[in-house]
Every structure is written in C-alpha cells, then in structure tokens.
C-alpha cells in the first residue's frame, strides 16, 4: 500500500485484512455434501440422478461467483441453453466448471430446432443444424458431455415424434455426448407431456409449472402419468413471474410458490433463476426444508384472487358471453393499454377483432364467468373507447 498517496486506497476493512461480509452461511469454500447439510434429494426418474430440490436456472446470471456460491452450498444441478445471452451463458459456466471434477455437478443445456408457428417440424427443421448448435454448446461449455440435453420449446407431439431429430439425439446419446435426453415445454404442456409418457425416448421433461396456471388439472395428470412412466420432471417458471401486478408492487411469495411446486412428489427438482446472493440465500433453506405452512398456503390462495392484469387464457368465458365476444383477446387489449402503456397496440388489436363501439351496451348484467374475477363488462367498456380515438393521438 505504500505506493498510494493519501488520496489513494487507504481504507481497509475494520480487521485490516478485510472482513468478510453479509452471509456467513455462504462462505464455506468446500463443496457441501447432502449429509452435512441435510439436503433433500429426489431421483430424477429413470435417469437415476440424485438431484437437490433446488437447482439453478442460470439463464440470466453472468456472475460465476454466484454459481460457485450455489455449488458450495449443495446446488449441484445447473440449467442453461444454447441461446441464453447469445451463448455467453454457456461460456461462463464452461469457464467456471473447467477445473471441477466432472461428476461433482450436473449440467443441462437446451437446443431449439426450427419449427413452424405451432411448433411442428417443417421444411426448415434441420437435424444437421441442431447437431451443429449442440456441438457449439459443448465447445462453449468445454465439456465432453452434458448430463441432459433438452430439445428446447416443444409444443407439439409431432416434434416429439419427428424421426430425423430423434435419430440425431439418439446418436448423441450413443456417442456419450449426452447422458440423458429431454425436452422443455412452455406451451401446450399437458398434451406434449402426455404424448412423451407413451414414448420410450424421453428421459426428462422440463416444464412450466406454478400455482397460478389455469390448466393445472390437465397438467398435473400429465405430469403424474409421465413420472409413473419413469420420466424425470423438472419444473421452471415456478415463481409465476414473481409479481402479481405490472407495477411490481405486489410480489409473489416466491418461497411459498416453490414449496407449492415441490409439494408435488412427481416434480423432482426446480430451476429458479437467480441473479443475486440475496435470492440465493432465500432459496437455500428449501434445500433441506419444504414444510409448507398454513400461512404460506393461505397467502398463495389469497393471491389467486388477485386478478392482476393478465388474462390466464383459460377460455372458460367463451361460452358464457351471449354475444360470443372474444373476451380473452379483449382482456389482452386492456392489458396492452394499461399494463404496457401501448394504446396503439390495444387499438390495433381491437380493430383486428372487429370492435367498433362498446359491444356490452345491450347487457345490463354480465353473464361472463371469469376465472380471474375480472370485471369483464367494465374493462370492455373502458377499452373499447379506444377504437374511436384517432391513431395520430396514440403511441
């Protein structure tokens, strides 16, 4: 320090050598073991992999110190994708794990094949390109193999059964470049999970799963069937967006939301995204204790009655409107205007829907039964005013 002037870096931590901060629980440098920390593991279906209840959705993190801290505390399963941060996410993990014993952690990545809008294979679907992308992922990760390769964003059974792609991924498995094959799904989940359960090819499914989904009955049934068939189930988007409103004034109780997910024994692990040490600290207790208290349950139940701004898309309203209005689309227009501050987008949608004036004037009472308890009539009356506003005034 002698080279520094008075204006230089003179101040140290109070212990001189620099005292370490905030969270002593995160300071252990040796990898944690389940036995030491009472970590609860579940078996990921027929893969036989033992996974902690909390794994790490790395997608938004660019901080290898955070991943290392998670590993040190027993979070040993990391989830990334070919496309996250243009590949930089895989590169960061590769640089972190290159000096680790390969069997000390589990790593999953995802590669998305080109499909049509419905997620079905088309003439642009190229297994060769898929293979090229996967090999690039391996090279970024600096690994000889990944534990799980997910085909990314499967929303149609046709893609699951697409033989040219199945041939490529089966070969990768034979070559030892992937240990297990899976797919991720964020739309039409129940249908594709149900279809996968009838096939022998898929070892693991990464699915959207949270307490606010409108189609939970179908999804739960599909997950149960898949788990019974020996498929490992990994849950994502478990925190339901983290907020109940667009203004981010009403947070979801994320701990309770994770406990709700893990209360389903057919879900083997979760991959909450973490970008800060605070979030990591908050999730760590769930590695060893997922006791779901009545208070937490009640909080989730109460939050279900908060309609927020987002239509869940359950479509149960469609049959109850005597004028057959496209209520979900109208609720989306309302969200565009008030949630996203884009009245021009809202107006475009209203025009596309053929709305010219308030279509609800003929009904004194609204018979629409909304699962989110939206006051549909009021919202439609409000938003439909936009169609008479000149586009010149709208942004």
């Amino acid at each position: 320090m002698k080279e520094l002037s008075r204006r230089g870096f003179l101040k140290k931590g109070i212990a001189g050598a620099g005292i370490v901060a905030i969270s002593p629980s995160l300071l252990a440098t040796s990898a944690a073991t389940g036995e030491e920390n009472n970590i609860i593991y579940r078996t990921l279906g027929r893969t036989g992999l033992k996974v902690p209840l909390i794994s790490f959705g790395v997608m938004r993190s660019d901080n290898s110190s955070l991943c290392k801290a998670a590993f040190d505390k027993g979070i040993t399963f990391f989830d990334t994708a070919h496309g996250y941060q243009g590949g930089n996410n895989e590169t960061m993990l590769g640089n972190l794990f290159k000096d680790f014993k390969r069997d000390s952690f589990l790593l999953a990545t995802k590669v998305k094949p080109v499909t049509d809008k419905e997620g079905k294979p088309n003439d642009q679907t190229s297994p060769e390109k898929f293979l090229e992308m996967f090999n690039l992922s391996l090279s970024r990760l600096q690994m000889d193999y990944v534990d799980i390769l997910y085909v990314h964003d499967v929303r149609s059974p046709e893609l699951l059964e697409y033989k040219p792609l199945l041939k490529v991924v089966t070969n990768l498995k034979k070559q030892g470049k992937i240990r297990f094959l899976g797919f991720s799904t964020h739309a039409n989940e129940a249908t594709v999970i149900d279809a996968a359960a009838d096939m022998k090819d898929w070892d693991v499914i990464l699915t959207q799963y949270n307490y606010r989904l409108a189609y939970l009955n179908d999804l739960n049934a599909a997950i149960k069937k898949a788990a019974a068939a020996g498929i490992g189930i990994v849950a994502m988007k478990t925190m339901a967006g983290g907020w109940l409103d667009r203004e981010r004034t009403k947070p979801v109780n994320t701990t309770a939301a994770l406990k709700w997910v893990l209360s389903n024994p057919d879900v083997h692990t979760t991959i909450p995204g973490m970008t800060s040490f605070d979030q990591l600290e908050k999730n760590l207790p769930l590695l060893s204790d997922i006791t779901f208290s009545d208070t937490e349950k009640n909080e989730l139940i109460a939050s279900l009655s908060d309609p927020g701004l987002i239509c869940s898309g359950c479509r149960q309203c469609l049959d109850s409107c005597p004028h057959s209005l496209p209520v979900p689309d109208l609720m989306r227009a309302y969200m565009y205007a008030y949630g996203y501050a884009s009245p021009s987008m809202a107006k475009d949608l209203l025009v596309d829907l053929g709305i010219s004036n308030n279509p609800c004037t003929e009904c004194d009472l609204c018979s629409v039964n909304c699962s989110r308890n939206f006051n549909v009539k009021d919202k439609i009356a409000d938003i439909s005013r936009l169609v008479n506003v000149s586009s010149d005034f709208l942004a």
Partner: protein, 282 residues
C-alpha cells in the same frame, strides 16, 4: 373543434398517461425475396412464447416490443427480429450480453457483428437480429443488404453509450464491455453499471462504472457497499479496499455521481486499481 380536441386530449390523458410515442416499423422490401409478416408483435407478456427462457434477460433490460418478419426465396429464409428497448443504454445492454469478442464487427448502427449467418446490431433503442441458415453467398449478401436497409429505417443514436468512453484503453479487452442492469456482482443494491474487462500481465480484472442521478445517491450506494465489507466510511475518503465475502477483494472509489468498482485484483495490486480509478474519475 378545438374544444372537442381538448376533451379528447383529456380523455387520452386519463387513458394513456405515461405513454411514449413509438416508431412504426415498416419492414423494408428485399429484392427477389417474399416478405412475410405473419408474426404478432411480441410484448413483455408473450416474449416467452417466442424466445423462451432467454426472454427474462430481455425483460430485465427494458424490453418494450418485438417486430418479426421473414424473407423467403425458395427454401432460403432470412428472419428479421427488431427488439425495442426502453433506451439506448438498455439496447446496448442486450446487444452486448449476446456478443462475443471473437465475432467480426461491423459499423452498423452503433455497432454490429456478423457470425455464421447471423447479423446483429443496435441503434438507438433498437436491437436488431437477422439470421439465415442458408450458406449460399447470394443469400448471405441479401442478408447484409437487409441489415443496411433496416439500419436506414430505424431512428436513434449511432454512437456507443457515452460512459463507455471513460474506460481507459490501456489493457482493455476489446468488445467485452457490457451493461449490468441489476445485481452488479450479485448484489441487489448495486444497479446500472457498465463493465469492462482488463488484462495486466497475467492478471485479469473487471471494472464497473456506475453513474447515479446525484452525488448523494452515489455516496449512499458506496456506504451500503462498504457496510458489506464492515468498513466504516471516513468523510474525507473516497477510495477503499475491502473484502466482499462473495467476490473477494474490492477496490471502491467515487467522485460526484460516478462510482468505480474494481474486482479481480489482489490487495497488493492497489496501485493498478488507483491508476484506473483516477483516470476514470478525473
């Protein structure tokens, strides 16, 4: 008439308070290719439907909307995606998060690059991604031509964010600068930092530069971070070394509304930290 317009304006103020004016996207034509614009405009609520988990990074960097078009000629497809973000810095943030220094860089908008059938660039509040899986030279030429046309139709700055110019060139790794919108170094109280990576001999270290609205805000943030290192701030000092339990040795310095954090250097490398901090804060 005037009264009617005022009433209308009043109504709009109620409905659209806080709205910003946006540029209409009119996709350019590309000779020999059929333009397909069947995609919806993606907004924060449905971006997941289009790019899945990658959406979260875009959302954290002020994503506003996404316009998509395809250009088709036979089996060759060029896909164009125009992402709008809240401001130029955030557009840089999403662009920089996906670039790699190994790419071939172009003067396109503020900056762009080309790699394996992909051309990405940013300009103003827009981040543009163009991609083809075709390897035909004519299609790749058409893709470049499309990139130039899109650059021409988009409004906005063609410079890099101004704060980046404060990073000293000496030892800086080219094209590795990024913008971290939240949880800098994993700390929720540290936000909105430009980051540059440096090499000095065999050592590699990172410099984070944060600009607050006021010097009081900078001081408050600095004190919060010093508390992490259990370091008592001295009113006469604006340069500190301390240990952050998660990130190791930290050099922290500030002046007015600018703050510099250096991570990756050892305690005995304070001279290097001093040199860079002084140059940035001069």
């Amino acid at each position: 008439m005037l009264m009617k317009k005022r009433l209308l304006t009043g109504l709009l103020l109620v409905i659209i308070s806080g709205f910003t004016f946006s540029q209409e996207i009119v996709f350019p034509e590309l000779e020999g290719f059929k333009k397909i614009t069947k995609y919806p405009v993606f907004v924060p609520d449905n971006l997941w439907d289009f790019i899945n988990g990658a959406a979260d990074t875009y959302l954290s960097l002020g994503f506003v909307d996404l316009h998509v078009a395809e250009y088709k000629k036979g089996k060759d497809v060029i896909k164009l995606e125009i992402y709008k973000h809240r401001d130029h810095t955030l557009a840089f943030g999403i662009y920089a998060s996906e670039r790699s220094p190994s790419y071939r860089f172009l003067k396109l908008g503020s900056q762009g690059y080309i790699v394996d059938g992909t051309i990405n660039f940013f300009k103003g509040n827009y981040y543009v991604k163009i991609r083809t899986f075709s390897t035909k030279p004519k299609t790749l030429q058409a893709e470049e031509s499309l990139a130039r046309r899109v650059e021409g139709i988009l409004a906005g700055e063609t410079e890099m964010p101004i704060l980046l110019s404060r990073f000293p060139e000496d030892g800086k790794m080219p094209n590795e600068e990024t913008f971290v919108n939240e949880s800098v170094l994993g700390h929720q109280f540290l936000n909105n930092a430009f980051k540059a990576t440096y090499k000095s001999g065999n050592d590699s270290f990172s410099i984070y530069l944060m600009q607050s609205a006021t010097s009081d805000e900078t001081l408050k943030t600095a004190k919060t971070y010093l508390a992490v290192g259990r370091t008592e701030p001295d009113p006469m000092e604006n340069r500190y070394i301390f240990t952050d339990g998660y990130n190791g040795t930290i050099f922290l310095a500030w002046k007015e509304n600018l703050m510099v954090i250096i991570s990756g250097l050892a305690k005995d490398q304070a001279g290097i930290a001093e040199k860079y901090s002084s140059e940035i804060l001069k």
